[in-house]
């Protein structure tokens, strides 16, 4: 007959000594990988009511946005031309260069225009590194 030999059972052991190390690694990983939702946007400093400064019209570059979202830019000779949003930056940069940064950009947006067009225009003007930007309410000084 076959003899049954009782096998020696190895003790099952999970090594727990490095458990804490693993846990700390996880903590450190998540600490470094976490990004807190920071607020971000386009910043502006508004003038105080009644403290608006008059600027000679030759030092102002006007950008108008129509109710349908068309963008009109005032050129050097004072006439308005329709521009694509992507072309505004080059135009503002050229104007800044021409006037040695002394120009102010006035953005006048129709109340009916979508907000996103206004942000697109403001973004382009900011990317052109214009220092003086003003948002002019449509009621002042007539519209289209």
């Amino acid at each position: 007959m076959i003899s049954f030999v009782k096998r020696k059972k190895a003790k099952a052991d999970i090594p727990t000594a490095s458990m804490a190390d693993i846990a700390f690694l996880l903590i450190v990983f998540f600490m470094t990988a976490t990004i807190f939702a920071r607020e971000k946007g386009l910043t502006m400093l508004l003038p105080e009511k009644g403290e608006e400064v008059k600027i000679a019209s030759r030092n102002i570059m006007q950008i108008l946005v129509s109710p349908t979202g068309k963008v009109l830019v005032e050129e050097e000779d004072g006439t308005l031309y329709e521009y694509r949003i992507a072309d505004i930056r080059a135009e503002v940069e050229a104007a800044l260069e021409r006037t040695n940064d002394s120009i102010s950009v006035a953005i006048k947006v129709s109340p009916l225009a979508p907000y996103s067009v206004m942000i697109d225009v403001l973004d382009e003007v900011k990317m052109a590194d214009a220092k003086r930007i003003s948002l002019i309410p449509f009621s002042e000084g007539g519209g289209e």
Binding site: I27, K40, G41, M44, L45, K49, L112, Y115, S116, P137
Partner: protein, 140 residues
């Protein structure tokens, strides 16, 4: 007289379970922490390349404006009849506590500009002059 020296038991604080206690504490605080976040309104922010981070978070006031023109500040909807007036009054209240307030306008990209313009004029009136238009980073 016979003095017998008493055998002294070694004084030891068991430190093996220290880390367990620490983890329990960490877990407890992780589970009980509630971040104060505003619910706000449902909207899509416009994208802009010139988007910057805002430094001072404590001084920011979130103003949510959705495409229907509803305004929400600190999770309170402004009354629909006079939203701009209510916005101005609310601003004045908050400005009294935090003079360097930065107003963060979170406006839906499809909102009409007219109302935003009115809000900006109101901000000039109550001297809340630091304004930020919330945008998303635009990747090129």
């Amino acid at each position: 007289m016979k003095l017998t020296r008493r055998s002294r038991g070694g004084a030891a604080i068991p430190t093996a379970s220290m880390s367990d206690i620490a983890f329990l504490l960490i877990l407890f605080f992780m589970v009980t922490t509630v971040f104060s976040t505003e619910q706000g309104l449902k909207l899509i922010l416009p994208k802009a390349e010139a988007t910057q981070r805002i430094r001072l978070r404590r001084n920011t006031l979130n103003v949510w404006i959705d495409r229907e023109g509803r305004i929400s500040i600190q999770d309170k909807l402004m009354p629909a009849e006079t939203p701009v007036e209510a916005f101005g009054n609310k601003l004045l209240q908050i400005l009294a506590e935090k003079p360097d307030l930065v107003v963060l306008l979170r406006v839906d990209e499809n909102a009409r500009y007219g109302q935003i313009s009115e809000l900006i004029e109101k901000m000039k009136e109550v001297k809340a002059l630091k304004l930020t238009f919330a945008t998303q980073f635009e990747e090129l």
